[in-house]
């Protein structure tokens, strides 16, 4: 088997909450719980889930913006803990959701794009200029863009600048954190097409975080579904929603609006309180086929019959 380019092992992260009162104990919010995933070279791997499911925390741990409490990350076979921040960011880069917010308002595009060239790759001025011209061409921005400030660009153009910045580190892997959610659909499609082209051109591996099932299905090869800090299902993108194995994936697939279908909605259903997580399976209160075992035992992610990985006690009983 080919060595995965990203190997995540039992990754866990919690955040300390402010004390409610002077004497109350500090509660911890478990954002990511015991997540393990392998991602192959050249793959577009989607991570999907609703707000608060831990997908962004997971993504930020991969690039080193958060330090995990426990568990390990291997990038290209090397333990990320042994790498310096700069070494790590030459391998893995990140594109943020908010296109305008991720560009410093006081810097010109040239200054923004020069930073990775100088600090991560140590290029001299001439080599850097040549790179700049090439990258603008790759993300389809005019050369005049270099001397402008971020506020002079539309959302789609600003996202192209962010993508260019990530590419200039010459990474193997790019984490795309909701890269098109803030954009209009026609622009969203432009950026997705650009990302697909760049993936082929530079041989990139993508980790694509999103809450939009349709975008993930169209863009990714494999998808992990997260619920309440855990991965509950991993399967091929073209089948995961059509043949959902985990009841939560099924819920997502049936509530997402489809043209020509009526509205399908749960009558009740909210996330559990993250500060007082329930015993057993976190989804059981919303689950149509939960049994006694779900109350006591949290199911672990295991390989199911069709090659998909599912974390459900009842997944294989069909």
């Amino acid at each position: 088997m080919v060595e995965p380019v990203v190997k995540v092992e039992a990754l866990t992260k919690s955040f300390a909450q402010a004390r409610r009162s002077l004497l109350a104990p500090r509660k911890r919010l478990h954002a990511v719980k015991d997540v393990s995933v392998d991602i192959s070279r050249g793959e577009a791997f989607g991570i999907i889930g609703e707000s608060g499911c831990g997908k962004s925390t997971l993504a930020r741990m991969l690039v080193g913006l958060h330090a995990p409490d426990s568990g390990g990350i291997l990038l290209g076979g090397r333990d990320a803990k042994t790498m310096s921040a700069q070494e790590r960011n030459r391998i893995i880069q990140y594109v943020f959701q908010d296109p305008a917010g991720s560009l410093n308002p006081r810097k010109t595009v040239r200054q923004i794009l020069m930073t990775p060239l100088k600090t991560l790759r140590g290029l001299d001025a001439r080599a850097a200029e040549a790179e700049l011209a090439g990258i603008l061409d790759a993300v389809k921005l005019p050369t005049e863009a270099l001397s402008r400030f971020p506020h002079e660009f539309s959302g789609g153009q600003a996202q192209r600048i962010s993508i260019a910045r990530a590419l200039l580190a010459r990474p193997e892997i790019i984490v795309l954190d909701e890269p098109v959610s803030a954009l209009d659909v026609s622009i969203q499609a432009q950026i997705l097409a650009l990302l697909a082209d760049l993936r082929a051109e530079f041989g990139l591996t993508y980790i694509f975080i999103s809450h939009d099932l349709a975008v993930v299905e169209a863009f990714c090869d494999r998808v992990a579904v997260m619920y309440f800090g855990e991965v509950v299902e991993v399967a091929a993108a073209n089948s995961i929603f059509a043949r959902a194995r985990h009841p939560y994936t099924n819920l997502l697939a049936s509530t997402v609006p489809r043209r020509g279908d009526g509205i399908f909605a749960e009558t009740q259903g909210e996330l559990p309180d993250p500060l007082n997580p329930p015993q057993g399976c976190a989804f059981r209160a919303r689950c149509p086929n939960s049994g006694d075992i779900c109350m006591n035992l949290n199911p672990v992610l295991h390989k199911g019959k069709a090659g998909a990985h599912v974390a459900c006690h009842f997944a294989d009983e069909d």
């Binding site: 960011n89 990775p116 026609s186 097409a193 169209a218 929603f241 997502l252 609006p257």
Partner: protein, 625 residues
């Protein structure tokens, strides 16, 4: 850059006046040594208390017969220099503390900010007095005292802003581009802090000059015979009644300086504050300005709501931004009309124009009528419109948190919404109605939710409250502007279900505004697609989605992915929206359209067809004419 900035400050007349005063005073200070004034410290008891223009003293003489004009100018020099230096020192040290505390956080933040808190715990002037008492009187020590007293102001201001910047995505992005902490701080954070520091400086320097004068007045600052404004005032105080000019003259000078600085400081703040960047704060009128040429057409009396030929524009620069152009549609009770478009298409401005909620200035409704039950709302007096808003025509917005009052409980807000339109309602009735409203939006434990504050609720719960608020007065029409865009899919489905049930069961007319065709397809009877301020296609939902007639509708459908479609990546629409202040003469979509030919751009394209399908396209007209 500097010139533009100066122009922006001087646009504010008071700031210009302040700048003028300051220029005059600093000019006088600069030329003082060359004016050939008498020595300010030469005592001539024979001339004590000479009045202005007496014995060759332009401004008279003080209690020791010294020339007041000379003492005043030399004193002003000194006071300004000391005040400015103190302000610079306080700004430098305070900002440094704030930057370090805000950027590094943790223990360093605790240590620095708690020390600053200790400084702040003492009353201002007492602390300054204590410092001078320890160091001993003298101008230099007064300067140190004033600087120290003002450090907390800068430290706290700068720390707050640094904290926000340090947590921003662009700092995280720069970190991932390889910058270390020091380099991040110097090259990414600090450039964003200048405006805050300058604003803080310009609004406090006047105060610091006053404080220095205060210490001198008490005899703790400049020591005799050296004059500064505070000490002159102090010396003149004894003769305040008999010879008022000795104290009035330095008093006036202090007044002129501080007023000049404060007026200019306010101008600088207004020019630098991003919230005020688009000009000074304007008070907008309670209803959008209506400037229609000619007599408006009579309104349709058949439908509940009838919008005809509505045009709204924003008059900001020379060319008006034409946000809504000749939009017409009608709606009856129980119906749902979806208005679909991308950002900038004019869908929200259309919705807000209906009850005149677009801020004027700069918005102006230039043509059209909004008929509600046969009355033209734009011809009615404001009272009628205000009464209709919220009561007969209610709104639901994307972010309910921005429309809910953060300090009132959900129950109190529901009650308020009902009482505003019917003051006779009693408390028990209000409570009962509020509970039933919450049940209408499927809230499981209404009594508990009534007592909650908006911030404690989840996004989906808040949007239900938003819907309950809209329902509070049994409206005929609800206008929902992107009501589910901020919600997760499972919650979105629940909110759509509620809205759909309500319009069917209560017979409310629903205008559902969205950018998402998939969402719209589930709830609407009819769809109007907007592009560049115009409706380009309108018809029954199923027909528009299954047989789109306008090229833009087709392109929009092809660019919105759907699950289970299996067709690979969505197809982008090349290019972008035309600028609303520079719209083409012909079809606004022609530049992005695959079918466009020369005739598309030749002249304005009309919306043609029947009630079952209206399309604004030359090609469609030719084929279906």
């Amino acid at each position: 850059m500097m010139v533009r900035f100066a122009k922006r400050i001087l646009r504010n007349r008071l700031a210009g006046f302040g700048a003028g005063l300051l220029l005059m005073v600093t000019g006088l200070c600069l030329v003082t040594p060359f004016l050939g004034l008498p020595d300010p410290n030469v005592i001539s008891t024979a001339d004590r208390f000479s009045l202005p223009f007496e014995d060759g003293f332009v401004l008279g003489a003080d209690h020791l017969g010294r020339d007041i004009l000379s003492r005043l100018l030399w004193g002003t020099r000194l006071s300004l220099a000391v005040g400015l230096t103190a302000a610079l020192i306080a700004a430098l040290i305070g900002s440094l503390i704030g930057i370090l505390a805000g950027f590094f956080g943790g223990k360093l933040d605790d240590l620095l900010m708690r020390s600053v808190d200790v400084l702040m715990a003492f009353p201002y002037i007492l602390l300054a007095l204590a410092i001078v008492a320890v160091l001993g009187p003298g101008l230099m020590n007064a300067l140190i005292a004033v600087a120290i007293v003002n450090i907390p102001f800068f430290a706290r201001n700068v720390r707050g802003v640094t904290l926000v910047i340090a947590r921003s995505d662009y700092i995280a992005a720069a970190r991932l581009s390889g910058r270390g902490s020091i380099s991040l701080l110097l090259f990414e954070v600090v450039p964003n802090l200048w405006s805050v520091i300058i604003v803080a400086f310009s609004t406090t320097v006047g105060w610091m000059i006053l404080e220095t004068a205060g210490l001198s007045f008490l005899g703790l600052g400049s020591q005799p015979p050296q004059s500064d404004l505070g000490s002159m005032l102090g010396e003149g105080r004894a003769a305040l009644i008999t010879n008022p000019h000795t104290s009035v003259i330095p008093g006036l000078m202090i007044f002129v300086i501080v007023m000049g600085i404060n007026l200019l400081g306010d101008g600088v703040r207004d020019a630098l504050d991003p919230r005020l960047a688009k000009g000074t704060l304007q008070r907008s009128s309670p209803v959008t300005q209506v400037l229609r040429t000619g007599q408006p057409a009579p309104v349709d009396t058949q439908s509940t709501l009838d919008v005809a030929g509505l045009s709204t524009e924003f008059r900001v620069d020379k060319n008006p931004l034409r946000a809504v152009r000749d939009v017409s549609f009608s709606l009856n009770g129980g119906e749902c009309l979806a208005i679909v478009g991308e950002s900038g298409s004019g869908k929200s401005v259309t919705a807000l124009s209906i009850t005149g909620l677009v801020a004027s200035p700069p918005a102006v409704i230039t043509s059209g009528t909004v008929g509600f039950r046969g009355r033209d709302l734009f011809s009615e007096p404001f009272d009628v419109l205000r009464d209709l808003r919220g009561r007969r025509i209610a709104y639901i917005f994307q972010d309910p948190l921005s429309t809910l009052h953060p300090l009132l409980t959900v129950g109190a807000q529901l009650a308020e919404a009902m009482v505003t339109h019917d003051p006779r309602l009693t408390k028990p009735v209000l409570r009962r109605r509020a509970i039933s409203l919450l049940e209408d939006v499927r809230i499981a434990n209404p009594e508990h939710i009534m007592m909650s504050y908006p911030h404690a609720l989840s996004g989906g719960m808040r949007q239900r409250i938003g819907i309950a608020m809209a329902l509070a007065n049994d409206p005929d029409i609800i206008i929902a502007d992107e009501p589910t865009t901020a919600l997760d899919v499972t919650v979105q489905a629940q909110v759509l279900r509620i809205l759909d049930d309500l319009r069917r069961q209560k017979g409310v007319g629903l205008i559902f505004i969205s950018h998402d065709l998939n969402v719209v397809s589930q709830i609407s009877d009819r769809i109007a697609v907007m592009y560049a301020g115009q409706i380009v296609e309108c018809g029954p939902s199923r027909d528009v989605l299954e047989q789109p007639a306008h090229p833009y509708t087709r392109a929009l459908l092809a660019s919105s992915p759907q699950i289970g479609a299996g067709g690979g990546l969505p197809k982008p629409i090349d290019g972008g929206l035309p600028r609303p202040d520079d719209l083409p003469a012909g079809c606004a979509f022609a530049a992005r359209c695959e079918m466009a030919t020369d005739i598309c751009s030749a002249s304005a394209v009309e919306l043609r067809g029947s009630a079952s399908r209206e399309v604004r396209c030359v090609k469609w007209e030719a084929a279906n004419g």
